[in-house]
Symmetry: C2
Subunit: 254 residues, 2 copies
DNA sequence: ATGTCTTTGTGAACGCGTGCACAAAGATGG
DNA sequence: CCATCTTTGTGCACGCGTTCACAAAGACAT
């Protein structure tokens, strides 16, 4: 996963496990696709395949919501779409603000997945005065000075931070002070927030590093297998010989 | 978290738990910051605070890598930076390709966090012929026809998919067929890949939906607390009265 | 050299998440 | 109305991850 909650606040809620909540949007997407194809019912097996999960897990997940299936038949697609939407809170409108309209912020503003699930971009905010008034994705960018007013006027409770790392904590503090209680953070920083505020982070660099780890491991195992030797004790990949390990630190720029 | 592995292949590797691997980049970032401030050593307590985790967890994580600390003193910052970098495979160069140069793809190409950790953008690929040759982030966009050649010529093993959902699986198949074994997927789709290929996904819409769930829960609890009543048995939020629940499905567009 | 003090490294307990396997439920056909 | 067949819902066991709590290890002062 590319994300992780910070600290773990009141995670477990009304008996619905966090892991289940994280999968509900996946089910919802698969169900929406079925709904568009006018499929009336679906079995746990089929839906699980579409969502890429185990069918037993899917059934257990749904059991936390209630008994919405019919034995011998499956689940009613439309009904389940509604139930999951309601459980996730998508039957209401969620105004969000995006702070930091750089490349990423602009991409987020243009992202269709936001609007299509009840999320409405209420405002775009940037610290650069030159950006003010300039429309991005059809919405004029506003200056950071307006942040507090925008939050309160629109009743915004969800904020998206797409600023450079250096500005993220400060922006976060202002968002929280103004009333935001959920934050989606794209800046590569650990945000500190008071209790009761949820933070989820999306960190592109971390995702790539995790992939690199597994990639390196795969390369190491393959090399070992090719040489017909026992797996190297620590999985070193000395194919690019840089001398023995544990020598000069390879420090990275930023 | 915004990400989740698909299916769970050979997760556990050389005894390093997946959860630990996912945190190593976090530690690395904190350590790099300390290194830049020329801090020679750091205790597990300090570093844990900087990374936003529990100190016991951090020590246990490090114990999987080896005994790199000194009791009574802490960890040598430079040495630890090197050890984690090596464990993550960041001491070598990882050429990556980004497929789908829309708003998001362009943002990724410009993202500094890639280059700064040993990841090199080897090529940008898009299906739109009009994009071909156009430079994005200083790199000329190439057409999808060149995909296979680019992969093999550059020895690319990591691919980033930033295409629309409809094209993602097809692009994924071609990447895998050409030799890519790790994929970072930004398209809102479940990708199917053969064994031995790792997929991590970043789904902005899912992250927001998870936040909305907790946001709704918070709102519900607060309302219940204000009325001095027992918490509603199922946490319904009927403030926007739409009649009794379980009625008309509120289907979403896309 | 010896004692004290700090901090690591880890054994052990606990809780959550996952997956198996099956009984219960309902549909469907005779 | 009964038998059969499909599919759900869940009890149970297992394994991973987290956290506590403490012994061992080393630095440092005397």
């Amino acid at each position: 996963m590319a994300t992780g909650r910070t600290h773990r606040p009141a995670t477990r809620s009304r008996g619905i496990p966090e892991a289940t909540v994280a999968r509900l949007p996946l089910y919802l997407r698969a169900l929406t696709a079925l709904s568009e194809r006018s499929v009336p019912t679906v079995s746990s097996e089929e839906l699980a395949a579409a969502a890429g999960v185990n069918s037993a897990k899917l059934r257990k997940d749904f059991s936390y919501l209630g008994s919405y299936g019919t034995r011998g038949v499956g689940y009613d697609v439309e009904y389940l779409v509604y139930q999951i939407s309601r459980e996730l809170g998508l039957t209401q409108d969620w105004p969000v603000v995006i702070v930091g309209i750089g490349n990423l912020g602009a991409a987020l503003a243009n992202y269709g997945g936001f609007a299509s699930r009840g999320f409405r971009v209420a405002a775009l905010i940037d610290a650069d005065p030159a950006m003010a008034g300039k429309p991005v994705a059809g919405i004029p960018v506003q200056h950071t000075d307006e942040l507090e007013k925008i939050i309160t006027d629109n009743g915004v409770s969800i904020g998206v931070i797409a600023t450079p790392a250096g500005a993220a904590q400060q922006v976060c503090d202002r968002l929280v002070a103004a009333g935001v209680t959920s934050i989606l953070n794209f800046a590569p920083t650990v945000l500190t927030v008071p209790d009761g505020v949820d933070v989820r982070k999306v960190d592109l660099s971390i995702e790539l590093q995790i992939l690199a780890f597994h990639e390196q491991r795969k390369a190491g195992e393959e090399a070992a297998a090719h040489e017909g030797a026992v797996p190297a004790p620590a999985g070193r990949d000395d194919s690019t010989d840089q001398g023995p390990d544990g020598d000069v630190p390879a420090v990275m720029p930023a």
